[in-house]
Structure formats: C-alpha cells, structure tokens
C-alpha cells in the first residue's frame, strides 16, 4: 500500500515537471496560429479560437524569413561537414599515431578548453575585418572549422579500435589516407553522427558570434533575425511565436528523430575514463 502511494505521488510529481517543461513550447505553437491580439487576453487562451496561418505568411513574404532560414541551414551544414572532416582526421591521428610531442600537445588542447570563446571574439573580429570576411558566410564558418571538444570525442572513440585492424589493412597495402577513409570513418560512425548533431545544433542555435560578425540584415541567421524582430515587434505576440516556431522546429525535429545519438554523446562526454 505504501509502495503504491509512493508510486502515485511520484507519477504526479513527474507529470507536473513534464507539463512545466513542455507548456511554454506548446503555448508557443498554439499562439503562433492565433490572429493578431488573440494571445493577449486574460485568462490566457490555450487554443486558437480563429485558427490562422497569417503569421507564417507575413514572416515568409514580408519579413524575409526564407532568407534567414537559408542562411542558418547553409551555415550549420557547412560548419558540420568541414569540422567533421578536420576533427576526425586529428582525433584519429591523436589516438593511433605515435609522434613527438603528441601527449603534451593533446594536454595543452584539453587544458585550453577552459578559455571562454568570448576572449577570442574581439581580435577575431579585427582579423576577419582586415581579411574582408566580416558580414560573410566565411566569417561564421572559420571559428567553427575545428573544435577541441570534437577532436577529444573522436580520439576517445578511436582509441577503442583494435590496432590489429589497422595493421591488417596496412599489410594489404592500404595507404594511410585510405585506412582513415574506408576503415576508420565507418568504424567511427556512431560518434560521427553524434558529433554531427552537436555541431549542427550548436551552430544553428549560436547567437553571440553571428550577432557580432553578421552586420547586414541579409546575412542574419534565424536567431539573430528573431532577436532583432522581437525588439521591433514587441506587441506582435502571435507573430513572434510563429518566428520562434520556425527557429526551433528544425532542431527539435532533428533531435526527436535521432535523440539516441544525442543523449549517448552527452553521456560519452560526461563520463571520464
């Protein structure tokens, strides 16, 4: 009986937490389908009375959201592809090649993870300004090309690949690059998927750096454009909710589709040794 009671109260508590976690997002979605003004009532309305798509229409036709959507997608995809290649090459080499200074170099990289990226932003902006890359896609891609965390994740995974696999491939006359490309990369698939997800979502959601480096409206990513629009359209609740839905939906759908890899990745990064 006591156990039963404990079970019921546990479910009640967990359900409340789940409602709190999801309610703001559910309300966002619902309000995005309301005509102007309907979300500003008391008590708050949870379902649209006059369902409409006009907020989305306004965003895509008058407010240029198609363009921001393209910018965000293009940047997130580019950074993901480039960094995956560069990080996996380095992570594999750190795991499976012996060379002078390898361990101190790796330790230095790990130690420098404590440096917050904000420290680099002022000089990086000046550098990119001199090179003419401010307000260009390259300006966002460059600092994302390689990541220490990514190298670390891949190295940890590659360490678990038996040396005998690599030796056997070498006996068969495979070149170093061929071993990396057709043996190591397929074996590293799970961690590559995880890292790709992390990178894609991280780039998509990133705010401070694109805010700094994209100075022209036409180059904005979705979060930068949304922050900007939300300061101009404070009263247009329903419109801003539609904008938030467009910004959140792609990453949320991606997460739901492949959440196993994402959660495994956090666990892999979280447990040491």
């Amino acid at each position: 009986m006591r156990k039963r009671l404990a079970g019921v109260s546990l479910y009640a508590l967990m359900t409340i937490v789940a409602v709190v976690a999801l309610a703001p997002l559910a309300w966002m979605l619902s309000a995005s389908f309301m005509p102007g003004g309907e979300a500003s009532t008391f008590p708050p309305r949870f379902f649209p009375k006059n369902f409409t798509l006009e907020n989305y229409e306004v965003l895509f036709t008058r407010l240029n959201v198609t363009h921001y959507f393209f910018n965000s997608t293009f940047l997130a995809l580019s950074v993901t592809c480039i960094s995956l290649l560069i990080n996996s090459l380095a992570g594999y080499a750190f795991a499976k090649y012996r060379f002078r200074g390898r361990d101190p170099l790796f330790k230095l990289l790990i130690a420098s993870m404590v440096i917050p990226s904000q420290v680099t932003m002022l000089p990086l902006f000046l550098m990119l300004n001199k090179m003419g890359f401010v307000n260009s896609y390259i300006g966002v891609i460059i600092p994302g090309m390689a990541s220490i965390f990514g190298i670390f994740l891949i190295r940890q995974f590659a360490l678990t690949i038996p040396d005998s696999f690599i030796e056997a491939a070498r006996m068969d006359g495979a070149s170093d690059f061929r071993i990396y490309w057709s043996l190591i990369l397929p074996l590293c698939r799970p961690i590559l998927v995880t890292l790709a997800l992390f990178t894609f979502m991280g780039t998509w959601n990133d705010f401070l750096w694109p805010l700094i480096v994209m100075t022209d409206d036409s180059m904005y990513t979705l979060p930068v454009a949304l922050a900007n629009l939300s300061l101009e359209h404070v009263q247009d609740t329903e419109l801003m909710m539609a904008g938030s839905v467009i910004t959140i939906a792609p990453v949320l759908i991606l997460f739901v589709a492949v959440q196993r890899y994402y959660i495994q990745g956090i666990m892999a990064g979280g447990i040491k040794e």
């Binding site: 060379f99 440096i115 904000q118 420290v119 909710m241």
Partner: protein, 294 residues
C-alpha cells in the same frame, strides 16, 4: 608506426586542425591579452596605429567602473543561485526518471530534455511573453494560487530571478542526462547488500547514491559554472540588461563596450576578467576533486 613516415602522416592529419585552432583560437587569445593593455577604440578600427599601450589603465578603470561591479554582482547572483538550483533539479529529475517504480522512462526523459535542444534566443522570446505582467502564463498560475501578479521583467528585484527560472527550465535536462549516466554506473550489488543489512530507501540514497555520484556532481558543477558565467542571450533578448541594470551580465557588458561603443581595449580587459573567474572556479573545483579521490 613509430617511424618517421608515420610522424609525417600524423602531422598531415593533425595539421588542418592545428592550423585552424592556432590561427583562429590561440592567436586571438594572445591578441586579446595584448589588446587589453591598449586604448584601442573606434578610431583605431580604421588604422591600428592609433592604438597606444596604456599599461594597466583598462584594468584600473574597470575597478572604478560601477557598471562593471554591477555586472559582476549580477553574474555571480545568477551563478550562485541558478547553478545549485539547476543542479538540484537535474539530480531530482534523474532520480525520478531512474526510479524502479516508474515506467515510460523514455517519455519522461525526452520531455525533460526537450527544452535543452531548443534555440536559446527563441525560447527567450517565448518566455518574455510567459512573463508578461497582464497576459502571461506565469501570472495566470500565480493569481490562480491566490498571489498578486508580479511584473517579472519590469521589477529590478524580480528580473534576475525570472532569468534564473528560465535558465533552470532550459538547462536542467542536460545535467539530468549526465546524472542518469552516473546512476547507471552504480553497481546494483551495493543496493542489494544495503537492503540485506536493513537499510531503507532514504538511507540508501544518502549512504550509497549521493556519495557514488560525487564525481559526476563535480563534473556537472564545473560545466554548469563555466556555462552560467557566460550569461548573455537571456538578458539581451528579454531585458537588454535592465531594468536599472539589474540583469546586466559580464558578457553583455563586454559586448556593449566592444561592439556597440567600440571600446575594444576596455572590452578585452573585461573578457580577461571573465576568463580569470572561470579559470579560478575550475581550478578550485578540480582541487576539491583531487582531495576527494585521495
């Protein structure tokens, strides 16, 4: 593979990463350090020659800047209240989700984790309306419970608590997953042995679960601290640092000084103070870890 050729190939493989990280991370870090000792401003932007070395001037000025102290105080408030709060919520949810009494674990875990993957800027926009003094969801709940409505983002005393609540909502699922991994690593035999010895559930929690989770908790504390020190998007979108600078954070001040007023020398000094705090916090926590493991 220890031969010369292997070394050359390894360099080729590591080269692109080292170049990218070296040029676009390490060089800027050093340059920021130099920058923080100059009076680099909007005039120097056109011609770097206009910047002069001013020694510790920026750091001295920082100590005398009431806005800097305000931003430091606000950031520490956010960190010291929000950090432990979000870790406590994460731990409690992990314990609930992993409880033997519960089914549909995956559903609850996914629900709790959903806010983590959302875009911070977008949910900050949403929460601005959740906190609306007249029409917001939160004040609806507050008045249902019989309290007076609160002007969450307009009242200097409530603005930071409001940002903390939103941050806890957004982040607790991340640390929850790390705690779940930690819980799964505790051997079942420990609990079986304790049960045979007659230890109740509460006793098991305090004498097995929490001590075994100590390393996980420490790791979670470090990443949470590093993340929370970098508070920026929430105040930028929700309050612009207001009201009365009650949500002005260190990174927001750095952004305003560096990229709105182009006082880049001064802004670089702020960035290094941020770095110093994060470094000190990490060193402190890893010392605690070393003491615990010996």
């Amino acid at each position: 593979m220890g031969n010369n050729q292997g070394g050359r190939v390894a360099l080729l493989f590591i080269g692109p990463a080292l170049l990218a990280i070296g040029i676009f991370f390490f060089v800027p870090v050093l340059a920021a350090f130099v920058l923080s000792f100059t009076d680099f401003d909007i005039y120097s932007l056109g011609n770097f020659k206009f910047a002069r070395f001013v020694g510790f001037h920026n750091y001295v000025q920082l100590l005398q800047d009431p806005l800097f102290w305000k931003s430091l105080k606000n950031t520490l408030y956010f960190l010291i209240v929000g950090g432990p709060l979000s870790i406590a919520v994460s731990l409690a949810s992990a314990l609930m989700v992993q409880s033997k009494l519960v089914r549909w674990k995956t559903f609850f875990r996914t629900a709790y984790f959903t806010p983590v993957v959302t875009t911070l800027v977008a949910v900050a926009v949403v929460w601005r309306y959740v906190y609306h003094p007249r029409f917001g969801l939160l004040n609806y709940v507050v008045t249902l419970a019989g309290f007076n409505p609160v002007d969450w983002l307009g009242d200097p005393n409530w603005a930071m608590p409001a940002i903390i609540m939103m941050a806890v909502w957004k982040n607790f699922g991340y640390n929850m997953v790390i705690f779940i991994a930690g819980l799964q690593n505790i051997p079942d035999e420990l609990y079986e042995a304790a049960a045979i010895d007659g230890a109740g559930k509460t006793q098991q929690l305090f004498s097995i679960t929490l001590p075994m989770l100590a390393p996980t908790t420490l790791f979670v504390s470090i990443i949470t601290m590093i993340g929370y020190f970098q508070l920026f998007a929430e105040p930028y979108v929700m309050t612009q640092g207001g009201p009365l600078n009650s949500t002005l954070s260190i990174v927001l001040l750095m952004y305003q000084q560096g990229f709105r007023w182009w006082n880049m020398g001064y802004s670089a000094a702020i960035a290094f103070v941020l770095f110093a705090f994060i470094l000190a916090g990490s060193l402190l926590q890893s010392r605690v870890q070393r003491r615990m493991s010996t």
